[in-house]
């Protein structure tokens, strides 16, 4: 029999109202308060413990409170944790999100909560936590508990969740599925609907992109430290850091101090997205070290940063690209670099 632990607040745990919102975490064996609704609905499981924490206590001591709660949860050795439902309660929503997130990460067991879609906790925790949609208030308790227990039952039975599961708030994760119809058939279905002004659903939401503001110009470039950065996949011959040909998740730095140009044969392109012949023939075409060194010697720039940074910008997800960009910028900032020549391919 699967063991379930319930997390709730002072109100739904029947300790008291707002006047009890400062109570630290406590637990009671078995089901207390709303936990009884789950006990009735989940007859095949054992509700071993109900953990209750005051809303204020949690929100004012998030790390301490959640640590104390985690100890109580771990003691009970659950297979699944249920938190809430929190409805539109701000503090309680955050507590449910935080506890579920920690349970999944630290204990590697499933956790389920229910929160109203516009509750701020949703935006913070939705990508990590299984959140069932709920109404704004406890008026939707019955329906919410039904939906939660539906998901919990599926998890207990090992039934794969639907993609997507209509009662859940989407985590925003794209997962692959096999449709019944081919892409071409779906495209024509969609076109016919669009032409006939009938409803259809696009399969990809169009993202809105960040607008990147250009940095102000360098006023005295003859005093500036300039770095060379490329997404063109230039690496020392033999690719010592194993930079992948596509979807790279890291960048490498290579020392170019004392080198006047990237010599053919010493460097190569490992980028799978373009024809590397010309880049291999003259790697300076992609990392223009030769020209930059000349400019440094002529005093047209202050100096060249002693490393070039390289990654393969090929089938890279926007998230990975953003992260690598930040990491590069941090390294360059910390090392007094004023400007960058970023070459793409």
């Amino acid at each position: 029999m699967k063991r379930i632990v319930i997390y709730t607040n002072q109100f739904f745990g029947q300790v008291g109202g707002e006047e009890q919102a400062n109570i630290p975490p406590l637990f009671k064996e078995g089901a207390v308060g709303t936990a009884n609704l789950f006990r009735q609905a989940l007859k095949d499981a054992e509700l071993t413990r109900t953990i209750i924490c005051g809303d204020n206590y949690f929100s004012e001591n998030v790390s301490k409170a959640s640590e104390e709660i985690m100890i109580m949860i771990k003691e009970a050795k659950p297979d699944i944790v249920i938190a809430g439902p929190a409805f539109n309660a701000g503090r309680f929503g955050m507590a449910c999100g935080e506890i579920c997130s920690r349970v999944e990460k630290e204990m590697n067991i499933p956790a389920v909560t229910a929160i109203y879609e516009e509750n701020p906790a949703v935006e913070i925790y939705k990508s990590d936590v299984t959140i069932v949609k709920s109404g704004k208030s406890a008026a939707s308790m019955k329906k919410t508990v039904e939906a939660m227990t539906g998901i919990v039952k599926k998890i207990m039975e090992g039934t794969e969740l639907e993609k997507p599961e209509s009662v859940l708030i989407p985590k925003g994760i794209r997962v692959n599925v096999f449709k019944e119809k081919t892409g071409a058939v779906r495209a024509l279905d969609m076109l016919v609907a669009k032409l006939n002004d009938e409803p259809y659903e696009s399969e990809v939401p169009i993202p809105s992109y960040d607008v990147i503001e250009a940095a102000p110009p360098i006023l005295k470039v003859e005093e500036a430290c300039i770095a060379l950065v490329t997404s063109g996949g230039i690496v020392p011959n033999g690719n010592p850091n194993h930079l992948p040909a596509a979807t790279a998740k890291f960048y490498s730095r290579y020392n170019i101090s004392g080198i006047n140009a990237l010599r053919k044969g010493d460097y190569e392109s490992v980028h799978a997205g373009y024809d590397p012949v010309y880049g291999n023939d003259d790697p300076n075409r992609i990392v223009p070290l030769d020209i930059m060194r000349e400019m440094e010697n002529n005093g047209r720039i202050g100096k060249l940063y002693p490393y070039f940074l390289s990654t393969t910008g090929n089938s890279t997800s926007v998230a990975d690209a953003k992260r690598m960009g930040k990491e590069m910028a941090m390294e360059l900032n910390n090392n007094g670099v004023d400007g960058v020549i970023l070459t793409s391919t």
Partner: protein, 426 residues
């Protein structure tokens, strides 16, 4: 304009003394086919294997897949093997459920993998074909660009040569495909919405090229093409783009969108034309081609467009620009793309977009990882996975299984919508 396609359903393949087709069994004379390929002096070595559906066989790195087809006097694949005349008319012979698969030492970085059994069979349509796998090695000193040409020609030559054995054979399914001028088609079905297919093809430079009537597509402007010419091998893949999003020659010959447009023609839509558009590298070329493509679509009077892509990233910009231009002209557009949503599926999944792209079909997240069990037999070079798209150093696990991203799989998310893979948000 009528084209008769005689389809021969291959149920088994085997080696034998002569290349022949009897009772759905295709027998291949290995030496003869080798000789035909080796007429190209740049080929140093040819090895031919067979890979049938269900066998424990892994093929990599695969460059192209080609359906064997020929005509009577005229060779299929105009401008590459034969003359230009006579394409899209007369009789075409096609060996169905069968393909020539080209492999050998890696040409670019973007050759892919085909497994004939196991989980990959859900992802690659080529697992379900009787495959004639040709490993081609080049003479020393041949540069990568010429290497690509050598392998491309070898594949197409073999496919055409093998198909010749059915020219006198009965026992086929006859398909007649008719095509008319846009004006006649539109007059026949005045009440139906007129649909044009915008057919984007990879044209980003050597190793990323497509050939139309034998011409390197990056040297051409967007143009009207006949679907009958497409069936006759007018479009041949010459590229090494990501295997998952590569339009193989097989995909061109069996273009899923053209098939679907024909199915609905006269019922739900009036299919009036195809515009073939090269996907180019520079912004200037993208803008030029966008204007010409949208102009051609408007000129022949389309109400709606379905647009396919090849490759991902840079070509997504062409796709979106053309979509925007068409929508601004009031032409309702649906596009097909794949996604790069990251291994965890949490990233924004398209590198470019327009708010006017409100009807998008996705062929899946190419970054998703898949583990493949070991196969008993490997045709090609298992280690090459480390250097190809979708693979990485460490892809080969200690038990011989492979860990790769979906876009390392041949045809896994074909952007003409040939397959059923898609993605949803959970």
């Amino acid at each position: 304009m009528n084209l008769e396609i005689r389809e021969f359903a291959v149920k088994n393949i085997a080696f034998g003394d002569e290349t022949r087709y009897i009772d759905h069994e295709l027998t291949l004379n290995r030496e003869e086919i080798t000789r035909v390929i080796k007429k190209d002096m740049r080929v140093s070595k040819v090895e031919i294997d067979l890979a049938r559906p269900g066998e424990s066989v892994r093929i990599l790195p695969v460059k192209d897949v080609i359906e064997p087809r020929t005509k009577n006097e005229q060779a299929a694949f105009p401008g590459i093997l034969g003359e230009f005349e006579g394409i899209g008319e007369g009789i075409t012979y096609a060996l169905k459920n069968c393909a020539v698969v080209t492999t050998g030492p890696i040409v670019g970085f973007q050759e892919g993998i085909i497994d004939m059994s196991g989980p990959l069979t859900d992802y690659t349509p080529f697992a379900h074909l009787n495959n004639i796998v040709i490993q081609i090695e080049k003479q020393a000193g041949i540069e990568p660009h010429e290497h690509e040409e050598v392998v491309r020609l070898a594949g197409v030559t073999a496919a055409e040569f093998i198909a010749r054995c059915v020219r006198e054979t009965e026992g086929y399914t006859k398909k007649i495909i008719s095509w008319k001028s846009a004006y006649e088609l539109a007059s026949e079905y005045p009440e139906l919405p007129k649909v044009v297919y915008v057919y984007n093809c990879m044209s980003q430079g050597l190793l990323h090229d497509t050939y139309y009537f034998g011409k390197d597509s990056k040297k051409m402007l967007p143009t009207l093409v006949s679907p009958l010419a497409v069936y006759d091998g007018a479009i041949v893949s010459g590229n090494c783009v990501s295997p998952g999003s590569k339009t193989t020659t097989y995909h061109h010959q069996n273009n899923a969108i053209i098939e679907e447009c024909f199915k609905r023609h006269g019922e739900e839509i009036c299919f009036i034309g195809i515009v073939l558009t090269p996907l180019m590298i520079t912004l200037e070329e993208k803008i030029r081609n966008k204007e010409i493509t949208a102009g051609l679509v408007e000129l022949i009077g389309a109400d709606g467009v379905v647009q396919s892509q090849e490759g991902f990233g840079n070509p997504t910009t062409d796709l979106m620009m053309i979509c925007e231009a068409l929508e601004k002209k009031g032409i309702k557009t649906v596009i097909i793309t794949n996604e790069d949503a990251g291994v965890d599926g949490k990233s924004e999944s398209l590198p470019d977009g327009t708010l006017l792209a409100d009807a998008v079909v996705t062929t899946g997240n190419s970054n998703a990882m898949i583990q493949l069990p070991p196969m008993k037999k490997v045709i090609g070079d298992l280690k090459s996975i480390e250097r190809t798209t979708g693979g990485f150093v460490g892809s080969v696990q200690s038990d011989g299984s492979l860990l790769i991203e979906v876009h390392g799989i041949m045809g896994s998310h074909n952007l003409q919508g040939y397959s059923k893979l898609s993605a949803v948000t959970v």
